[in-house]
Symmetry: C2
Subunit: 107 residues, 2 copies
DNA sequence: TTGACATGCAACCAAATAGTTGCATATAAG
DNA sequence: CTTATATGCAACTATTTGGTTGCATGTCAA
């Protein structure tokens, strides 16, 4: 329900990239996710922590390895609750805009 | 196509609130949008500028009044291109997670 | 046990962000 | 014309954020 944490987590490109990677290959370790990322392990760990905090990533320990799994639920919630709000009446809004623009002379 | 600007714009609660307001009542002036917002007019103007930059808000001048209109297109693009990516294979990912968790003993 | 690997924690730093205030400009109204 | 309204621009500030480094802890393997 904390959509603020989700939106903030999604605001960073590195974090979106991490989600992309987990999407392609779920259940990776921290050190796997670091590979080729031009930033330190600790930076990646922080990003993953933020994603975890936003409940976008779930974690499972296996011995000394921390496995990361993507959790699509919060994204679906945003899509359904907030984005859907703008999707559904899309045509109405666009036609309102068109009408408003036509109400005024072009110049 | 600049999804980074859109995500960053959506990351702030005040800006999401402004979009909510425009959704309920499209084509408002800057000073309308300031009402009751516990922040200065200039702060609101900055937020609207960021939304405009991200193409989430379109603007039409009417004399000395600047009217703001919500633009749902970028949100739809995100929803379709990026969020849809996680929505579609939702079941597969969740069952992967379930399988992975069951692979390890609970404790 | 010893050493290598995987991760966590904390302090620190630079850049970006959200907000402020003050002043300028343009339009509408009296 | 004068005044009030609607907005813009710019400088400044505090907080947040994304990143670093150094060191500590825990687990696997030889």
């Amino acid at each position: 329900m904390d959509d603020d944490a989700v939106f903030k987590a999604l605001a960073d490109g590195s974090r979106r990239l991490l989600l992309d990677r987990l999407f392609r290959n779920n259940g990776q370790r921290l050190s796997d996710l670091c590979a080729g990322l031009d930033m330190s392990r600790q930076a990646v760990a922080k990003h993953l922590g933020i994603l975890e905090e936003a409940n976008l990533v779930a974690v499972q320990w296996a011995g000394r390895e921390k496995l990361h799994f993507i959790n699509p639920v919060p994204i679906n919630q945003i899509s359904e609750r907030w984005i859907g709000k703008f999707e559904l009446p899309r045509m109405r809004v666009l036609s309102d805009l068109k009408a408003s623009l036509e109400k005024k002379p072009r110049k």
